[in-house]
């Protein structure tokens, strides 16, 4: 892997509560190369969204980044003052959220929202910003941009709104986009279109994407590498093909149970994450040792006492004691 665009090291996100501190992201490390699409999968509550929010510096108090570091092009960006972080958000790291119906302000036209974003980051005149807004709308596939630019969000369908959201995320040409479940709230028939659009734009603009999703099928088709999260930790991270074909971590192996083989009927039948027996532990009841141990078919004594860190096994890294003495 070339010099990373984004590097997250030992990230820890905490929520202080009256009954003790909840650790929602616990020592997560990952890296994204320029132009790369990194898929992030995991059950709901695994800490995927919080990891994304931590990267763009929008963890809501009382939540906070308690440890670790986040580097963008080698420059440390966690804990930057608001104004400096603001200039990174949108300009160098774009974001796309889950629900396009609620991501846009209902009282402003999409043109207003686009131009204000462009003007916030680029040294252009309002007329140039407008021209750029029109070009962006055309690029994300909004028909008749000139007629549509003065319309309000409620005048667009869900899929069209998510295209507008993508245009907004691209408005200032960021090198990285964090897309948090960008299709979960959409009609199944539209999901594939949006993913295809995102993939095409990322390739054309050389933008790296951190694609958070539940959908292993989407990851298989779209991502270059994939990170599997479990209980606030990275269980496994590596190239998509390797992780799908030869999952190392028992949790990943469980997840891959239902994925259709790559290449055959891709895009038709999507495998959702399979149910593994049991449930992910609550944040206040994460077991000692390996967080997956209550559900793991292969656990042994060490798993109950010591916490496994990521261990390199060929191209993949997995946090599992099975590989403590090299790959098996």
């Amino acid at each position: 892997m070339s010099a990373p665009l984004l590097e997250v090291k030992d990230l820890r996100v905490e929520f202080p509560t009256r009954r003790g501190t909840l650790v929602a992201v616990d020592g997560a490390s990952l890296a994204i190369a320029p132009g790369e699409i990194l898929g992030v999968v995991g059950e709901s509550g695994a800490g995927k969204s919080l990891t994304g929010m931590a990267i763009i510096g929008l963890i809501e108090p009382p939540g906070r980044i308690a440890a670790g570091e986040i580097r963008l092009e080698s420059e440390r960006i966690d804990g930057l003052p608001y104004e400096q972080m603001r200039r990174i958000r949108g300009r160098r790291i774009g974001a796309i959220f889950q629900d396009p119906l609620t991501s846009l302000n209902p009282l402003f036209t999409i043109g207003e929202q686009l131009t204000e974003t462009i003007l916030a980051h680029l040294e252009v005149t309002p007329a140039e910003a407008l021209a750029r807004a029109l070009a962006l709308l055309a690029e994300v596939g909004i028909p008749a941009p000139r007629a549509r630019i003065g319309h309000y969000p409620h005048q667009f369908s869900g899929g069209m709104r998510q295209r507008v959201v993508i245009a907004l995320a691209l408005a200032a040409e960021p090198r990285l986009i964090i897309a948090d479940e960008p299709t979960t709230a959409l009609d199944v028939s539209i999901q594939a279109q949006i993913i295809a659009l995102l993939k095409r734009l990322a390739r054309e603009h050389g933008t790296a994407v951190m694609l958070i999703t539940h959908d292993m099928g989407v990851i298989a088709e779209t991502a270059d590498r994939v990170a599997v999260m479990y209980a606030g930790r990275i269980a496994e991270i590596g190239p998509v093909r390797d992780v799908i074909h030869a999952p190392r971590h028992p949790y990943t192996a469980g997840l891959m149970g239902s994925i259709p083989k790559l290449g055959q009927g891709a895009g038709k039948k999507r495998g959702r994450l399979v149910q593994i027996e049991g449930a992910m532990p609550r944040l206040n009841a994460i077991p000692a040792g390996c967080a997956f141990n209550p559900r793991c078919p292969r656990r042994f004594e060490r798993c109950l006492a010591e916490r496994p860190e990521l261990i390199a096994i060929g191209t993949t890294d997995a946090a599992c004691w099975l590989y403590a003495d090299g790959p098996r």
Partner: protein, 327 residues
């Protein structure tokens, strides 16, 4: 849009007719107007003549129609107490009340919004806490008490401001204004604070709650993620969404301010319509009371209409006719 306006206008007309009916019935409940006007000594012939002259032998609905027709021309008859046309008495008092209500409303709106936004953005500062505590007092104290306390402190103890009246006014044809003289402006301060305080605290709390709600929405989160400045996020995006529901409440409160001016005008001996109304009640001066009732109702209806239109202008989701079918 046109259908919307027409529907609202029809509703407004219906409301006015109903209020007119109530005002009209006042005359009948309070006794025989003929007796009232001629006194005990009048001969039966005189009474019959006056009854015919006033059209009191006509059926109820004809009389009511006549009342409405005259009311539409601003005719509410002669004051029983002052023996002058009611309309000119009211017109004389109107500027005092409207100027007071205007100042009170602007004060309530501006201070309420500023304080509401401040307490929402600086949720945990001690100053926000203090403002909230103060506003709680503001809502719970009765108006007259606030007025009397203000008079006690600023008029009696400190002697800074007058305790009653409008000060000097300038006549601009049919409108007499207190805005153009120093004493007129000074006289406005205490009564307008008294009148607007309740609405100010109401608006402050409403804006605060609404703003906190809006700040939690996805589109605000997304606005931040787009890298907009704090100022743009708070005062462009969040504030506009906050003000949509605030407009309605504020509009309705403006009507309430005009109506509740009665109490403030009494405390400060403010020569407005409210004071006139109170004096008329004491003398059972029905024509004045009826006219006042209709005028206040008219204010409410007009304000409501304006609020609806404003709401419509601010919130594009209501402009359904323009919505190109969502595709």
């Amino acid at each position: 849009m046109l259908a919307f306006i027409l529907r609202r206008l029809a509703q407004a007309g219906l409301v006015m007719l109903t209020v007119g009916l109530i005002a009209f019935s006042l005359f009948r409940f309070v006794g025989d107007p003929v007796l009232f006007m001629l006194g005990q000594e009048a001969t039966p012939e005189d009474r019959t003549r006056l009854t015919l002259l006033l059209g009191l032998d006509q059926p109820f609905y004809v009389q009511y129609a006549g009342f409405v027709a005259r009311a539409l021309q601003g005719e509410f008859g002669i004051s029983l107490r002052q023996v002058r046309p009611v309309s000119s008495m009211i017109l004389e008092r109107l500027p005092a009340t409207l100027e007071l209500a205007l100042v009170a409303a602007v004060l309530a709106l501006v201070a309420g919004i500023v304080m509401g936004v401040y307490t929402a953005l600086r949720r945990n500062s001690w100053f926000s806490q203090a403002l909230l505590a103060l506003s709680l007092i503001g809502v719970s104290l009765p108006t007259f008490l606030i007025g009397i306390l203000l008079i006690l402190v600023f008029a009696v103890l400190l002697g800074w401001l007058p305790s009653f009246g409008r000060g000097e006014t300038v006549d601009l044809g049919w409108w007499s204004t207190g805005f153009l003289t120093a004493s007129g402006l000074k006289a406005l301060i205490l009564p307008s604070i008294t009148l607007g305080l309740f609405q100010m605290t109401l608006i402050q709390r409403l804006v605060r709650t609404e703003m906190l709600e809006v700040l939690r929405t996805d589109y605000i989160k997304f606005a931040r993620a787009r890298g907009l400045s704090d100022r743009a996020v708070h005062f462009r995006h969040a504030l506009k969404n906050t003000l949509v529901p605030v407009i309605t409440i504020t509009g309705l409160q403006l009507g309430a301010i005009i109506a509740f001016a009665i109490i403030t005008e009494t405390v400060f001996q403010w020569p407005g319509m409210g004071l006139l109304f109170i004096q008329s009640v004491q003398f059972a001066d029905i024509p004045v009371m009826a006219a006042y009732l209709c005028l206040i109702a008219l204010f409410f209806v007009v304000i409501n209409l304006a609020v609806d239109l404003l709401y419509y202008a601010v919130d594009p989701r209501l402009r359904i006719d323009r919505a190109a079918a969502a595709h």
